[in-house]
Symmetry: C2
Subunit: 525 residues, 2 copies
Amino acid sequence: MEQAPASGAQTLLETLVQAGVTTCFGNPGTSEVHFIHGLDAVPAMRCVLALAENVATGAADGFARMSGATAATLLHCGPGLANGLANLHNARKARTSIVNIVGDQAQFHGYLDPPLASNAEAFAQTVSNWTRRSNSSLTVGADAAAAIAQARFGGGAIATLILPSDVCWGTGGPIAISPPAPPRNVVGEDAIKAARDLLCGSKRTAIILGDDALNERCLRLAHAVGAKSGARVLAHSFIRRVERGGDRLAIGRVPYAVAPARAMFADIEAIVLVGAGRPVFAFAGPDGLSGPEAEGTQFIALGSPGDDVEAALDMLCNRLGAEPEGTNAMPRAAGHREVAKGPITPDAFGQSLAALLPHDAIVVDEGISFGRSVFAATQHAPRHDWLQLTGGAIGCGMPLAIGAAIAAPRRRVITLQADGSGLYSVQALWTQARERLDVTTIVFSNRSYEILFNETRRMGLTPGASAERMFSLDDPAMDWVKLANGFGVEAASAASMEELNDLLASALTRSGPFLIELLLGPRRS
Amino acid sequence: MEQAPASGAQTLLETLVQAGVTTCFGNPGTSEVHFIHGLDAVPAMRCVLALAENVATGAADGFARMSGATAATLLHCGPGLANGLANLHNARKARTSIVNIVGDQAQFHGYLDPPLASNAEAFAQTVSNWTRRSNSSLTVGADAAAAIAQARFGGGAIATLILPSDVCWGTGGPIAISPPAPPRNVVGEDAIKAARDLLCGSKRTAIILGDDALNERCLRLAHAVGAKSGARVLAHSFIRRVERGGDRLAIGRVPYAVAPARAMFADIEAIVLVGAGRPVFAFAGPDGLSGPEAEGTQFIALGSPGDDVEAALDMLCNRLGAEPEGTNAMPRAAGHREVAKGPITPDAFGQSLAALLPHDAIVVDEGISFGRSVFAATQHAPRHDWLQLTGGAIGCGMPLAIGAAIAAPRRRVITLQADGSGLYSVQALWTQARERLDVTTIVFSNRSYEILFNETRRMGLTPGASAERMFSLDDPAMDWVKLANGFGVEAASAASMEELNDLLASALTRSGPFLIELLLGPRRS
């Protein structure tokens, strides 16, 4: 029989590594020093340091999205976990696979209420599908294996293991083997037949694809269904990852804004949800509208999120006699290869980005107001993956880019970063510099919470002086070049499309991170 | 009968203002645009914008500590609250008085699971003494009044009111009157007699003062008790606010570090806890030690935290015949008036700070490793208040300074800021610039999590290459001058005591914020 590791920390680390969980994003504290010490004995585990926990959790999300593997985080007690909850909320909505390891007080110590004593379970349960406190270094291997299994259920979930420090320093127990991820749920024949009947009927239909249906093959299947049935095919609004560009088939999204979303569904009578929830506005206003569909729209589900929707789409094609390998009537990508000149607009930006995007890039989109239409403007770019904010908790962009770059080290990562959102987790730039990641960040610097001006007006309100001041970031104006430099990232600003084009072209060929502050001028009221 | 306000948001704001809650630190989102719009109609409410929620919550804590009033926060949905939980954890440990207002989805909308839908109550309950969801614009006044009352119980507590956006935009109901804060619990005669008997007995005793016993008068009372009984008088380790310097009586703290804390109590047989919990180490190690007291030490409590310990100390003086107005044998402050020269050390820094500190300043101490001994080195400075990290959740320093400066606009605020901790909430600098606050920040730039090196060694471990890399912040080295400039705060670095002295002297006389990066050189292993 193999000898057990020397400490609980090593048992835990070896259990993670044996299950293929070999990258951990963390910010440690005193209760984790034995875990960190264990890293010296388990070199197969790569631990990436973040200056703030929301950077670590967002990076884990990005890593899981691009690798398809389970990411780990290391966080310091309840409050350290608290600092990372917002991006775990986003990861939960994205259904990515993350095991959080949260250090805590030694079990004999916590009852005295030291400063960092807290209800770590309560913090964890706000975003976790599964939470457990490990009670012994002899069983921590089994606890870790259970966490990994839970994090892999249904394609991806958030599992949190609370790790008292005495469990780390105690004598190591056996390394445990995590069971293989269970297969995804099969979508039943009845659901496939119902979708087929609806799509063959007389109603005007749309198909909304959830995150599990946005890989290249699913898009081909879905477009074949659309071509055969006349259904409009769309992705949902808040995309975990979509494979697009090059010779892939293009896909639009359900618009974020209420008016265009309503217009898009005005003539639709029935919607097939392919592993997707119902379309829903990010927020409702006094008009009482919650979603874009016309009144009386019929919804049917082809699988729930996490189900095997690829197989379901395959069968649906079969039942419909649709031909996924045919290309007629399918929206192939082809378009601009020239950068844009003239005024800085979202479309001009999108055109330049599409023209300059390297093959097989990864685009992380937290562009918010300015960036909203860049998605459409880049569908003709060379092939790439596109990752978005999934849960509305802003501050995910630059952290996601860290994880994506570590998961795909030979691919260029481009982050489209709204300035207000980027400031929540600006500390991410330091980790990008430290890990020498090939990440190019473009900050849309409009120096305001533009979305809040827009939403205020949508509600029929006029911002007065107090409201104006709460939405404006121009007093003082942030200087993103200095901020980036302060964190060790080279940077420059662009005040015209010409400057942007030059900077972006050179940034995309250089090693390591670079930030471009795109100066959008004062807010346009 | 007075007309009710036009909207639920205005009812809420008017209720807060009528109860004297007139300062709100916030970071709004779409669900709060009606609240923000209400600010235009209720100018008595000052709303201070933060770029990240942990800045808002830390500022609220600082405001409450210095004003003695209840502070409000405005946060955006569960994840926005999540971003502010760490400093609310600190505020809860400090027992400060805060009402959190957390926007949420309109009630008819949340069931569709929009991106920011979350269990806001679950997030809130991790740090709140009281949580309620307001269900109607007609009753939101009463809800707010209840929140304020709860936040004022026992001297200070955290109350969280969840505010669906439809409650904000609905027709306003009546403004509610918050009941006066209930009087603090009286410490009973038995407890006073027990303390007296113990202190008059033959045991060697110490008195540990909690946060409610650290104002000028309580310190005088406690020192009189000490002088009369021979008891050693100390403050607990994690101080909300202590009034010190000038002609006030000095007070030492229970040391943070294990060895000096153990030494301090080695000969003590009994400890009187004055509104304080038992002394406890921030973390326990494999040595199994949880607190500094010798084995068999007797503890007795003179009141619990939040009780009327000032009255209890008064009565204890009376029972002992101690004379608080007498000054014999009491540790008066008097000392250095010259800045230090030579090598940069904690003591040299403390000497310079004491020499340069303006009268009636406020010192915010998140100095961690380098800063630990500055407290002792400044007890002879001119009179000032000293605020500390109370709950171990780092990232409180610069946010606390915002709130302190807004609560006490004519007083100079000096923040002693460890670099690693400061990076969690570096966004605070922007609000300092925006609000033109007279805050001078000194960053102790050792470019490492020095405390983790120290704790690792205390545990008997030697950091290897992996551990070393997780504790080091020097690759790349942060440039705090650029970071501060990027947020609109002027800054300079000092590499010698002479440079520091010059910079500090000039910074302390200027208007608005200034940051000094004190370069401590490479880590000393």
